[in-house]
């Protein structure tokens, strides 16, 4: 778990010794290169095609989406305006933003200290606690959904997104796991040295671990933001009867039912739900890819 292994998948070319020249094989190597890149280009087109068709259709009038033509004529840019008046899209975006931002902030406040304790302090029961967190992280949420729903129902908070936001104040299992993995990559010598310098645990966390773990914390925050932004099951459970509280991803799922076969508008809304996620990804690509790698590669 050195920083070199971490950054390797993000670097353009992997660290490899210079290729040994094999003049005999140069012809077959070239053929192989061509074959590989043909397959890559073909697969690449297949993978990008859905995005292209969705983009094109999002610019079509509703009558044109029912014809065989695949190119917008005329370009209906106003789809992206109309969709805001067809459904309370601005409100839904607001709900999504509130859900995702608060869930992420709350998660950080509660999960960073716990992950720090698990990674950098030795205490009795640490193994039991860590195992419990792993199980909580991996168990299907449906297993515990009913009693949790009953609790929120008794508190009168069903019909809102609060049952999905507030629990993050009490830690999120996946985030704790991921943050701990990041904190473990920071050499113990640093935290030990800070302790000898007279820092308490809070001081070590604040002055040493946090500054060094910024990329890991950013990646964990982005994962949390995305999973709340994309969440369907949670809003279905708690807000399905109150459209005022819907996040935008949930609203999209019901859009076609309400607005029949207007694929142009539906695809415009599909694009609008997706764009924020893609923008965040491109701004934070490096830390994000490191995060994905760390969830699985050190098995």
């Amino acid at each position: 778990m050195t920083s070199t292994t971490l950054s390797r998948p993000t670097s353009a070319s992997p660290t490899a010794p210079p290729k040994r020249k094999k003049p005999r094989r140069r012809g077959t190597a070239l053929l192989g290169w061509i074959a590989e890149h043909t397959v890559l280009v073909a697969l690449g087109i297949l993978f990008i095609a859905p995005i292209v068709f969705v983009t094109l259709t999002s610019l079509m009038g509703s009558d044109q989406t029912l014809t065989a033509s695949l190119w917008p004529n005329p370009f209906r840019w106003d789809n992206y305006v109309t969709v805001f008046t067809t459904v309370p899209l601005l409100q839904w975006f607001g709900n999504s933003a509130l859900y995702a931002v608060l869930a992420t902030v709350f998660m950080l406040v509660s999960s960073v200290p716990a992950a720090y304790a698990l990674a950098k302090i030795k205490f009795r029961g640490a193994n039991v606690l860590f195992t419990a967190i792993i199980i909580a992280m991996l168990l299907p949420p449906q297993v515990t959904a009913i009693p949790i729903y009953v609790m929120w129902s008794n508190l009168g908070l069903t019909g809102s997104l609060w049952p999905l936001i507030l629990p993050n104040l009490l830690g999120d299992a996946f985030s704790i796991f991921l943050l701990r993995q990041f904190f473990l990559t920071i050499p113990t010598e640093y935290s030990d040295a800070a302790r000898i310098d007279g820092n308490g645990e809070f001081g070590v966390l604040w002055r040493v671990v946090l500054p060094m773990a910024k990329p890991g914390i950013a990646a964990t925050a982005i994962f949390m933001f995305f999973s709340s932004w994309n969440d369907y099951y949670g809003p279905l459970l708690y807000t399905s009867e109150n459209p005022d509280a819907w996040p935008v991803a949930y609203g999209l799922a019901s859009f076609r039912g309400v607005h029949g076969t207007d694929w142009g508008l539906t695809m415009a809304m599909t694009m609008l739900v997706t764009i924020p996620v893609v923008l965040i990804f491109f701004f934070a690509q490096r830390v994000f890819v490191e995060g994905i790698t760390l969830t699985g590669v050190k098995g």
Partner: protein, 325 residues
Amino acid sequence: MTATIAREGRTATARPSRARTKRNLVTLALLAPALLGLIIFFVYPLIASVYYSFTRFDLVSPPEWIGLRNYTYLFTQDPNVWQATLNTLWFVVIWVPVKIVFALLIAGLLARAKSASGFWRTLFYLPALVPPVASVVAFVFLFNPGTGPVNQILKAIGIQGPLWFNDPAWSKPSLVLLGVWVMGDIMIIFLASLLDVPREQYEAASLDGASGLQQVRYVTLPSISPVLLFAVVTGVIAAIQYFTEAAVASGVASGKAVVGEGIGNNLGYPNGSLLTYTQWLYVRGFSTYQLGYASALAVLLFVVASVILILLLRRFKAFTPEGAR
């Protein structure tokens, strides 16, 4: 706690026991929110689920103890649970391996094609970013039998396309295609692991006269097998709770509103072919408010998930406390 305490004891000679107490309190403070969260949102609901599963409970009146009746109904009378279980099993057996094989193939291609691999990696990863609801809505449109681009293109080359999400025989395979499209997360993990295989091993195998395929079999697969197993087990866990994609595909393809109805209206459309176990649990719990019976379904899911988890916890170092140190 031994090493650090011992060091502190040497520098601050005063009272090690008081320092230890203080340190324990600080540790407890750091962990308190997470501990409370585990108890309220994990341990308690787990126990309560088991209790509810022996009761009749509709959220209005208090739970009423009915013994094993929910379980006998589940195993002998429930009209949908068998179909829902079989559908979920289908996703475990088909969706998981197909996704993994494709992710591995593309990761393999990317690991070899070193030129501009950042571009290719981003391209193949991009679909994984699309919110699941959006990707399902997009796929139902792309594959719609009437005017969808997929069937248009098939028609242009002389193939009569199937009804995809509107045909019980094709609805699940359509979701497998969607699963392949969004395999980016596993692909990134495979790619990192493939690039970690020491190059010398390939060169040694090549000198010994191993063919390309033999190198894959005897060098690549053994070195990435932990990651492969990780992908299989997390894939199976995802498959047994498969919910969003199936529910949204049913709702959008049937063209019926899901407003206020939850998903009860067009359950598993077409013809129950997309009704998964967790959707059935959801409907019994939150559409018809048979919370006692839904808890019995949840307990059964817990038993199955636990068996998989035990396998996982025993095999993966990353998931053990000693892992990744």
